[in-house]
Symmetry: C2
Subunit: 306 residues, 2 copies
Amino acid sequence: MEQMEKDLLKSIADISGFMPGSAFNLRKNGEGVERHSTPNVKIVTKEDKPGIDIIVKAYTSGESVHIPVILTESGINDMVYNDFYIEEGADVEIIAGCGIHNDGCDTSQHDGIHTFHIGKNAKVKYVEKHYGEGSGSGERILNPVTIIDMEEGSFAQMDMSQIKGVDSTMRKTEANLGPGAKLVINEKLMTHGHQQAHSDVTVNLNGEDSVVQIVSRSVGKDTSIQVFHPIAVGNNRSRAHIQCDSIIMDQAKISSIPEIAANHVDAQIIHEAAIGKINSDQLIKLQTLGLTSDEAEKEIVDGFLK
Amino acid sequence: MEQMEKDLLKSIADISGFMPGSAFNLRKNGEGVERHSTPNVKIVTKEDKPGIDIIVKAYTSGESVHIPVILTESGINDMVYNDFYIEEGADVEIIAGCGIHNDGCDTSQHDGIHTFHIGKNAKVKYVEKHYGEGSGSGERILNPVTIIDMEEGSFAQMDMSQIKGVDSTMRKTEANLGPGAKLVINEKLMTHGHQQAHSDVTVNLNGEDSVVQIVSRSVGKDTSIQVFHPIAVGNNRSRAHIQCDSIIMDQAKISSIPEIAANHVDAQIIHEAAIGKINSDQLIKLQTLGLTSDEAEKEIVDGFLK
């Protein structure tokens, strides 16, 4: 593996190569290049369309699955369907992510359609990082679609972040919660240059005592544009808490269009959103401690997105 | 004036008849029936369409204007355009409101299009109550449109409430704020039966240091449906705070779709919304004090909308 590829893997999945001993699938420039399953986690190529099925056996515990995607050639347009079958009572961590290195002048694009079938009482922690780099003028585009179907008593935590270098993203997330299911979504997003980011999240609280918590934090720099559209629909006795905080800098534009709907008398839904610039007291304090204004700004932004 | 008409006036404008000595316009069943101007507040019939111009002279102070509308016949469809010209430095209170008494089986509808031209440093307090009653099967419909253009340093407080008996309402409010303008909107809404209420509020913070505060409180009972869609757009150094709290009861459905957009680095926008049922601790406490469950519920709802 080239050093540049290793660096990409480090940025998106915190690994430096293949992961012997644990379930693993590396997709590079639109093709699978390395894979291994374990007795409890099977990774199988789809037969009808590009992509894989990841099957986690019932009551599996303590395993992790890495499924990174990297694009290193300019002009690649990759679309992939990944289905996760997390069987009853399994407890698993999934590390996904996509890194694009584009030194060319053509657009590199990866659209991942991820569908989670989370069984009764199963637990999933899903970590997804999106990252772009490269000296070319070619755009780096990521359009992830995430669908989450949660059965009774299941739990899912989705940590999804886009830290740097993605020119355009259209994120779509849809979750359907069964009885007692609990979903936590932590979204982090930073845009710079003339990047654009849209994020639509829809959560349907269908089951009794289902719970969702969404925390979205974003920073918009330069002339970038961000649009957030989280939707929580309480169709049963349920609770939802959505919190969106954004820091706006330079000539960036940020909008937030949440939608909360209670279709049941015992649905309890709370939404909070704030858009504002960096706290000037904090800036001054850090500068008093010896940081330049740029360093102080970086410190605050990093802390906010941590 | 009949007693029923007097009662309607009491409900919507807290008056029991004409208001000699102050500016006044009563519209009944689609026609003006009584009017008087004062030296500082002129009320003039529009020539191109139904409605009136209300002109408040510059630097007028301490005057109030009553412009109630009542519909007492079934089957009336009344549309009226009222323009308010509040000249520089004037300080005025405007009491509007519409009461419908419908004993028939035909729909009674009043659509008021109100446009406020608020001059430099002028101050307006606007109170609008909507109320319906009557034993007929005919619907009572109110579709108010309110447009507010605010010049430099002006202030407006809009207290708009729909307390009871309005079968269907589509409220549209749009405000454009100049430099240093401050707008406060207090919205109160109660729906019952199979009523429907939609409220769209758009505030454009165009001027430097413009400020808006919106507090919306609502209660949805029975099978009624409420939809709120407040929008705050910060196009300059400005501040917005939107707060929507709703109590949901019975089989009611409530949704809230706020939209906050910062198009300027010094725009600071905060939104909070909560939908939930009546606090059960409060209910139990009031029942312990001797109230029946219905009385306790009424007490809490009245307190919430006060």
